[in-house]
């Protein structure tokens, strides 16, 4: 026996299901398109009739990508990997160390140090690329990988998040460590740091993503092809005069895949990282 309210509820559930389905399709469609385009040849890609999936898949688009001397996608991917693999762990560890000291070691003047860190949060990141360029340029960092990496290693926001985290760290565990004769460095290195795994993974994953996808700073500082990241190579490819369409999409697929895999594997940490870094209250 279906009553009127029950019918209304079923209709509502159905409408919601339809909405979720449409949204899912819309959010995933670009991935499908990118993959499809990367496997087609340029003639069928620009043909007026629609193809859902190429009848013969052109995997050579991908191999051509690495053979093309004009784009240097291979070295650029290597650069990106190196940059992200250094930035993520180093910036996270440095922030954790500073956050620990600011939270737990009661020295006079700690408040001043904290204020100096917090003040830099007011400076928007991208807008100040000229000041950063001036300093890095004067240090000879133009067209070098360290010039891309080093300014991004000091993350005041991560310092604050770690400070917050260590403030809530139970002091009983530290007391036990102190009985065992550990000093402050020992307490941090042996007790606090090993207990921060989830936090390190979350913020490290976010830092890796940011670093891999960053565009403006590598564009400013890495003008020479030897210092190109994958994003710069892709952008150069996109804005070049002669466009090889399938190759372009193959390049996009190659630069996206590592992060998509990472999202699927480390999703828990990424979600946690986003929630932590957005949590203001």
């Amino acid at each position: 026996m279906t009553t009127l309210p029950a019918l209304a509820r079923t209709a509502r559930l159905g409408a919601r299901g339809l909405l979720v389905g449409l949204l899912t399709a819309a959010f995933l469609a670009p991935f499908y398109l990118m993959l499809r385009n990367s496997l087609m040849d340029s003639r069928s890609l620009t043909a007026p009739e629609w193809t859902w999936w190429p009848s013969t898949m052109h995997f050579e688009n991908f191999t051509a990508l690495f053979d093309d001397p004009a784009v240097s996608m291979g070295p650029a991917l290597g650069n990106s990997l190196l940059i992200a693999a250094v930035t993520a762990p180093v910036s996270t560890l440095l922030a954790s160390a500073a956050g620990y000291a600011l939270a737990r070691i009661p020295v006079p003047g700690r408040g001043v140090v904290l204020a100096l860190v917090v003040a830099t949060l007011m400076i928007p990141g991208s807008v100040t690329f000229v000041p950063t360029f001036v300093v890095v340029g004067s240090m000879g960092g133009v067209n070098t990988l360290w010039g891309i990496v080093v300014p991004g290693l000091f993350n005041p926001f991560a310092v604050l998040l770690f400070r917050n985290f260590y403030l809530q760290f139970p002091s009983e565990i530290e007391d036990a460590g102190r009985l065992d004769g550990l000093g402050w460095l020992g307490l941090y290195g042996r007790i606090a740091l090993p207990s921060s795994g989830a936090m390190l993974a979350s913020l490290g994953a976010l830092s890796f993503i940011d670093s891999w996808n960053s565009f403006l700073w590598p564009l400013v500082i890495g003008q020479d092809p030897s210092a190109w990241t994958a994003q710069i190579a892709l952008s150069t490819f996109l804005t070049s005069q002669t466009i090889n369409l399938p190759g372009l999409f193959a390049g996009a697929v190659v630069t996206i895949t590592p992060l998509v895999v990472m999202f699927l594997v480390a999703q828990r940490y990424i979600v946690e990282g986003i929630a932590t870094s957005g949590l203001k209250g």
Binding site: V20, V127, F133, L219, A275
Partner: protein, 333 residues
């Protein structure tokens, strides 16, 4: 960002209190009186030095130097000495292209911020209600956040909105009898806004949805039970319980969205090919693209620096005003 700073300082007292067995340094750590001795100092300096030196060089020295450059005639050089007072600021602010870019970024911000806010909140409410497979849908909406603006621009420009009759947008339009249009080149009507807004929406909506989901999960169930006892249902629960409880999250999301929108660069640069090597026919330019062309293309670091300060002042100003209006997202809990 400001909110987190203010709220963190209130936490040590509440957490460090309970049941203390007084024991040397451990006691001073909790008594709130800063005293840790020489070994404490050494450890403090060692642990904070890398970040402090790094921020010192790449933030404080950089900002200071750049400020002096903004008062200098610094074309093709980053050396100081050729003082010109406020000329760089005057030149920049009277430059029609820069003024246009400010107007356009304000339009873009006024559009993208509320739209992203509404869509990500809507998605969060939707996903929060899904019982089976919630994680799957969360992943679906979040996964575009893995894509860079460069790659998304490529797809939007070359496939979705490529202006060919066989382009996706024109094909779909064709089903409804619309003529094919050149999405990125058309200025009247300015259809490129649709390209810009859909791209940014797709990329960042999942990120903010996760923030809202975290906010939703933090709402105590009892509140809903109490409200339900008072006879509240459906819409009343949403406006009476859910939305007020998401106030802090909403403030944070609005600030993050504003700061991100105002610094838009990547998609504008890549969609319109408006970099220093570009043809300069872009229908729309953001202040950051303008600054990039000034500082990197013409190598005028004086005006480039002045621009950095003008934009920083704008962002900080609006953030502070927003913070004042919303009380920095304090209270909570």
């Amino acid at each position: 960002m400001n909110a987190s700073a203010t709220s963190t300082t209130t936490k040590p007292e509440s957490t460090g209190r309970p049941a203390a067995t007084p024991r040397g340094a451990a006691r001073t750590a909790r008594s709130g009186r800063p005293r840790a001795g020489r070994s404490g100092w050494t450890a403090f300096v060692l642990l904070t030095a890398p970040v402090l030196i790094g921020l010192g060089i790449f933030k404080y020295v950089a900002i200071g130097w750049s400020f002096l450059l903004s008062l200098s005639d610094a074309r093709g050089t980053i050396a100081l000495g050729h003082w010109v007072g406020l000329d760089n600021y005057r030149t920049l602010l009277s430059d029609q292209a820069f003024r246009d870019s400010l107007v356009q970024i304000l339009l873009f911000t006024a559009f993208i911020v509320p739209v992203t806010f509404a869509v990500s909140l809507g998605l969060a409410l939707l996903v929060h209600r899904i019982r089976r497979g919630r994680a799957l849908f969360r992943t679906t909406f979040l996964i575009p956040a893995a894509v860079s603006y460069v790659a998304a621009s490529l797809l939007w420009k070359m496939s979705l909105f490529n202006g060919l009759p066989a382009g996706i947008a024109n094909t779909i339009g064709g089903w409804f009898g619309a003529e094919p249009v050149a999405w990125l080149q058309s200025t009247s009507p300015p259809l490129y806004w649709i390209v810009l807004v859909t791209l940014r929406l797709w990329l960042q909506v999942g990120f903010y949805m996760v923030l809202f989901l975290a906010g939703l999960q933090a709402i105590p169930k009892e509140l809903y039970e109490a409200a339900a006892l008072d006879g509240a249902t459906g819409r009343r629960l949403l406006t009476g319980v859910t939305l007020p409880m998401l106030r802090n999250t909403s403030v944070a999301v609005l600030m993050l969205l504003f700061i991100a929108a105002f610094q838009a660069f990547d998609e504008f640069y890549n969609l319109f090919n408006s970099g220093q090597s570009g043809t300069g026919t872009a229908p729309v330019q953001t202040p950051l693209v303008h600054l990039y062309n000034t500082a990197m293309g013409s190598q005028n670091y004086g005006i480039g620096s002045a621009g950095a300060f003008v934009l920083t002042a704008l962002i900080v100003g609006v953030t502070l005003i927003q913070g004042r209006f919303t009380g920095f997202g304090r209270s909570g809990e």
